[in-house]
C-alpha cells in the first residue's frame, strides 16, 4: 500500500540539511500505524511526502502501486484527492461552510467520483455515524466545537472512500473523553472500509487502537 525506499528529502531553502532519510519502509493494506516520536524529527515533512505534496530529492515513493515521485503536480493533486484522506491537528474545515458543504467540497475534487443525489444521503449517514447531530449540519463549521469539527473532518477525509487515511495529531486539542470518542469512531470506520491508517501522535496511550506502533526516529535516520 505504501512503500518508500532510499528516500532523501532536503528543503530547497536548506540544501545542507537532510530532513528525511528512509532506506526502506512499508505499510500493508488496512494496517493501522501509530507513528510517534519527538517534535522536529520530520514527521510532518514525511506526511507531506506520502501525500504527494513534496517530492523527495532521491528515492522512490510508491503509494497504492503508483510512483508518486514520478508524477506531475496536477496528477499528484488528483491522485491525492482520490486516494488519500487527511485529518490535521486543526483547521480541518473551511470555516464559513457548514458540515455538509465541507464534505461536499472534498468530493468536488474527486473527478472520477461525480456527485450523485445518493451521495448526499451517504454524507448524512456518515455524519450520523460520526455522532454529528442534525442540528449541527447546517451551521458554519467555525461554530462547532473542536471535537465536532474533528469528527466532521473524518467524514470529509473518508467520504471519497480513500485507500489511505493520514491523521496528523488530530486529537491533540481534545480532552480525554473526546479523544476516546474520536478514536472509537475513527477505528470502526477505518476497519469497516479497509482503509490504511497512518496516525501521528505523541500520545502512546492510544497504542491499543493500532495494529502497529512505529517510533519515527527509528524509521527516519537523518
Amino acid at each position: 500500500m505504501i512503500e518508500l525506499s532510499d528516500v532523501v528529502f532536503k528543503y530547497a531553502s536548506r540544501p545542507d540539511k537532510t530532513v528525511i532519510n528512509i532506506s526502506n519502509w512499508k505499510v500493508g493494506p488496512a494496517e493501522r500505524v501509530l507513528l510517534h516520536g519527538p517534535s522536529g524529527t520530520g514527521k510532518s515533512t514525511f506526511l507531506n511526502i506520502i501525500s504527494g505534496f513534496f517530492v523527495p530529492n532521491y528515492g522512490t515513493v510508491n503509494i497504492c502501486g503508483k510512483r508518486l515521485d514520478k508524477m506531475h503536480t496536477s496528477k499528484r493533486d488528483r491522485f491525492r484527492a482520490e486516494n488519500i484522506g487527511y485529518v490535521f491537528q486543526q483547521f480541518n474545515l473551511v470555516p464559513f461552510l457548514n458540515a455538509i458543504e465541507n464534505v461536499k467540497l472534498a468530493m468536488h475534487f474527486q473527478p472520477s467520483k461525480n456527485m450523485r443525489r445518493s451521495d448526499l444521503d451517504d454524507i448524512k449517514k456518515l455524519l450520523q455515524d460520526l455522532n454529528i447531530s442534525k442540528s449541527e449540519w447546517l451551521i458554519p463549521s467555525r461554530k462547532l466545537s473542536i471535537g465536532q469539527q474533528q469528527r466532521v473532518a473524518i467524514a470529509r477525509a473518508i467520504v471519497g472512500k480513500p485507500k489511505i487515511l493520514i491523521a496528523d495529531e488530530p486529537t491533540s486539542a481534545l480532552d480525554s473523553k473526546n479523544i476516546n470518542n474520536f478514536m472509537t469512531i475513527l477505528n470502526s470506520l477505518v476497519t469497516s472500509q479497509n482503509i490504511t491508517l497512518i496516525y501521528v501522535s505523541h500520545d502512546l496511550n492510544l497504542s491499543k487502537h493500532f495494529t502497529r506502533i512505529e517510533d519515527f526516529s527509528r524509521v527516519n535516520i537523518h
Partner: protein, 400 residues
C-alpha cells in the same frame, strides 16, 4: 462549486467586502455617468436641428453663432438688419428662411421672435417637424406659443396671460407689464431647446421692446433688426456658394455657417473635456480595482489554512488562483449591476432638473450594447488586477 465557494467566502468577510463593493460601485457609477452624459449631450445637440442648410448671424465665431441661435447658449454679438433678411430670403436658391430674434425671456426661459415659417420649416431629430400639442400657432402680435417644458414647469395652459421681460435673467427689472401675452399654443415635446422656449411673432418682440403705453398694436411693423436666420436651400449643391455669397455681402458683415460643420468644431473642443473626464473615471475605476485587490490580498494571510486545506483535498493550485479571481470578478459584477440600477434611478429622478436647468435632455439610463462593452472592459480590468492576490494565494497554497 467554485462560484458558490467564492460567494460564501465573500459573505464570510461581509464588512470589508461591502466597503470594497461600495467603492467599486461608485467608481463604475461615475464611469457610466460620464459616458451616458457624453452620449446624451451629443445626441441632444445633434437632435436639436435638422434640415437647416445654413445659419446666418452677425459676424462672430462659427461655434458662437451655432450655440446662441440653436441652443440659446451664450449671446449674440450683434444683430442683422431686416433688409439683409429680406434680401437673402428673396434669393432664388433659397427655399425657406426663418428669422429669429433673441434676447428676451420669461422666468429664465428664453423667448424668441420668429415668423410662421418656424412652425412650417424648422426640423429637429430625424427630420421631424414641430407639432402642436394644444392650440394653434401665433397669429396676433400678443399671441405666444410655448414649449412643452415651459408649460409643464410653469403649469401654464391655453389662454393664460403672461408677461415677458427684456433681457435673459430671471429677475429682469424691465418686465413689460403693459402688454400681457396670451398663450395660444403648446408644442409637443421634442427633447430639444424648443421645449424650453416661448415663441412670439416678430411684431410681438417689437411690442416688448417699444414698451410704449401709447403703442397701437394694430399698426405695429416688423422689427428693424433680427438676431439670426435659418435657411433651407432648394438644392444642397448650392450650399457652399450661397454661404460664400452671404459671407461676402459688403453692406453688412454677416456669417453663414453649416450647422453640421460648426457642430463638429464644437465636438473637437468638447472631446478634450470628454476625454479628460473619461480618463479620470477610468483612473477612479483602476483605483477601486486596486482597493478590491488590497482587500482580498489582506485576507489571504488569515485564509492560509483554508487554502492549504483545499490543496490537501486535491484542489490544484489553479483552482485557488481561480477562486480569488472569481471573488474579485463577483465584486465587480455586483458593482456593475448596482451601478446600472443607480444610474437608472438617478437619471430618472434628475431628468427634468437637467433638462430645465442645463438644457440637456438626458434619457433614463438603460443597459445597452455600450454598457456590455464597458462591462467586458471592467471585468477584464478586474481580472488583470486580481492577478496580484491570485498569485499570492497560489504561492501560499503551493508551499503547503
Amino acid at each position: 462549486m467554485l462560484i458558490k465557494l467564492a460567494i460564501e467566502s465573500l459573505k464570510d468577510r461581509k464588512e470589508s467586502i461591502i466597503l470594497a463593493l461600495v467603492g467599486m460601485t461608485i467608481s463604475i457609477f461615475v464611469l457610466f455617468g460620464v459616458e451616458h452624459i457624453r452620449q446624451q449631450t451629443k445626441k441632444s445637440f445633434v437632435n436639436a436641428l435638422s434640415g437647416t442648410d445654413l445659419i446666418i448671424g452677425a459676424r462672430t465665431s462659427n461655434i458662437n453663432l451655432l450655440l446662441y441661435s440653436v441652443f440659446r447658449l451664450g449671446s449674440p454679438t450683434n444683430n442683422i438688419s431686416w433688409n439683409s433678411f429680406k434680401k437673402i430670403s428673396s434669393e432664388k436658391e433659397i427655399e425657406w428662411a426663418i428669422p429669429i430674434s433673441l434676447g428676451d425671456s420669461h422666468k429664465s426661459f428664453p423667448v424668441i421672435g420668429t415668423t410662421i415659417n418656424y412652425f412650417n420649416y424648422f426640423k429637429y431629430g430625424a427630420d421631424r417637424s414641430l407639432s402642436l400639442l394644444q392650440g394653434t400657432v401665433f397669429d396676433k402680435p400678443l399671441d405666444i406659443v410655448i414649449g412643452h417644458q415651459v408649460a409643464r414647469k410653469l403649469k401654464y395652459k391655453l389662454g393664460d396671460k403672461i408677461y415677458l421681460s427684456h433681457g435673459l435673467s430671471g429677475t429682469s427689472f424691465s418686465l413689460h407689464k403693459n402688454y400681457p401675452f396670451k398663450i395660444v399654443g403648446i408644442l409637443a415635446p421634442t427633447g430639444t431647446p424648443v421645449d424650453r422656449t416661448l415663441h412670439v411673432s416678430l411684431k410681438g418682440i417689437e411690442v416688448i421692446h417699444r414698451n410704449d403705453q401709447t403703442l397701437d398694436i394694430k399698426t405695429i411693423k416688423d422689427p428693424d433688426q433680427i438676431t439670426a436666420i435659418f435657411l433651407g436651400l432648394k438644392s444642397k449643391i448650392t450650399t457652399f456658394r450661397v454661404q460664400r455669397q452671404i459671407n461676402e455681402i459688403k453692406s453688412e458683415p454677416l456669417l453663414a455657417i453649416l450647422p453640421g460643420v460648426a457642430l463638429s468644431e464644437l465636438w473637437q473642443i468638447s472631446e478634450l473635456l470628454e476625454n479628460s473626464l473619461l480618463t479620470i473615471s477610468v483612473l477612479v475605476f483602476i483605483a477601486s480595482c486596486f482597493g478590491v485587490a488590497a482587500t482580498i490580498l489582506s485576507s489571504i494571510r488569515e485564509r492560509t489554512h483554508e487554502l492549504i486545506l483545499m490543496r490537501t483535498l486535491g484542489a490544484p493550485p489553479t483552482f485557488i488562483f481561480k477562486l480569488i479571481a472569481v471573488e474579485a470578478m463577483l465584486i465587480t459584477t455586483v458593482s456593475i449591476i448596482l451601478s446600472i440600477s443607480l444610474m437608472y434611478l438617478t437619471t430618472t429622478a434628475f431628468q427634468e432638473v437637467l433638462s430645465i436647468n442645463v438644457g440637456i435632455n438626458v434619457e433614463p439610463y438603460l443597459a445597452s450594447y455600450t454598457t456590455l462593452r464597458y462591462a467586458v472592459f471592467l471585468l477584464g480590468g478586474t481580472a488583470v488586477i486580481a492577478l496580484i492576490p491570485g498569485y499570492r494565494a497560489y504561492s501560499v497554497s503551493r508551499l503547503g
